[in-house]
Symmetry: C2
Subunit: 188 residues, 2 copies
């Protein structure tokens, strides 16, 4: 993928401005919110578009390679749960999300719910009253993969962000969320 | 105050719809976000309107009466820190916020920063890497107090929400945030 990134070292509002200037575009308020909130994306989509649902494209366990070990501060070879979903609203795909989850750092109940793949992670954190914080790592514009082109029926660029969810000082989840750059432009 | 409330027992998106129906109004996306996010309001305002600042109207210590003890799950007579601020953006008042903080439940450093009154609580939670969760308790429309009418130079109704921030299973803060109902209607 050809990413044109912006590592979030400074404050999010400055990073968003930088991307707008670099790409000569103007994000809508809703887009800015979706790129910058540290709470649940699902909760915001529920409020804006009515209760959304998720469709799981793939989920499996894998052993962390160096890259994934770094994403989650794990050791190479530790087990991670990989999950790829589409968030649907109004019967249409809205957001693509890929997560790597350090399952041994989650409670047994949450662990089981995650594997079932029916409930968005934001709702699970709420259900299990998880006290956590999020760190946004990167916001960037990129060309979509063939799969995303097919799923969203578009060739346009996507805007994406990567973030980690931290509980008890440890990363429990790394997530990337992406949507086509024309989405969430207008209020509906 | 004449409040026309809606206790948040169900999901937020249903509560917001209920208020829209009861008052025959339509919240903008930005208003919905400000009423429903479980992350920091300041962070969102920073992204939407450029870095915002706060002006402290009042802060003092007081002994919790029954009402405040209940808000924070404290005992009657425990010390709470009361703080009233206006969040300013573009040189104009945007949001009024009143907080009751259970200072003994905060770290010493955060405690000192809170008393200085210069930094919005959302930024403090970030600065001290606090892992927490928020529970929105109520969203409602009400007539403004004389002070709010004067500060915002308006007689119109305000929309408000109350929420608590929970850390280590205990309420560290109860906050009410309010803004005039015509604010955040249009993208700027």
């Amino acid at each position: 993928m050809n990413t044109k990134g912006s590592i979030v070292k400074n404050e999010i509002h400055n990073e968003i401005k930088k991307i707008e200037a670099e790409h000569n575009l103007h994000f809508s308020n809703t887009q800015k919110v979706l790129l910058s909130i540290e709470g649940s994306i699902t909760a915001i989509l529920d409020v804006l578009y009515g209760k959304v649902s998720i469709f799981t494209l793939d989920q499996h366990f894998e052993r962390a390679d160096d890259e994934k070990a770094e994403m989650l501060n794990l050791s190479n070879g530790d087990e991670v749960h990989h999950r790829e979903v589409i968030i649907f609203g109004h019967g249409k795909p809205m957001i693509y999300a890929r997560s790597y989850i350090a399952l041994p750092r989650c409670s047994k109940e949450a662990h089981e719910d995650i594997i079932k793949g029916k409930i968005p992670i934001g709702r699970l954190l709420k259900k299990y009253k998880v006290e956590s914080r999020r760190e946004i790592k990167e916001i960037y514009i990129e060309e979509p993969s063939a799969m995303l082109k097919e799923l969203f029926k578009t060739d346009e660029d996507f805007v994406s962000r990567d973030y980690v969810v931290i509980e008890h000082g440890e990363r429990i989840m790394w997530t990337k969320e992406s949507f086509p750059i024309s989405y969430f432009k207008k209020e509906i």
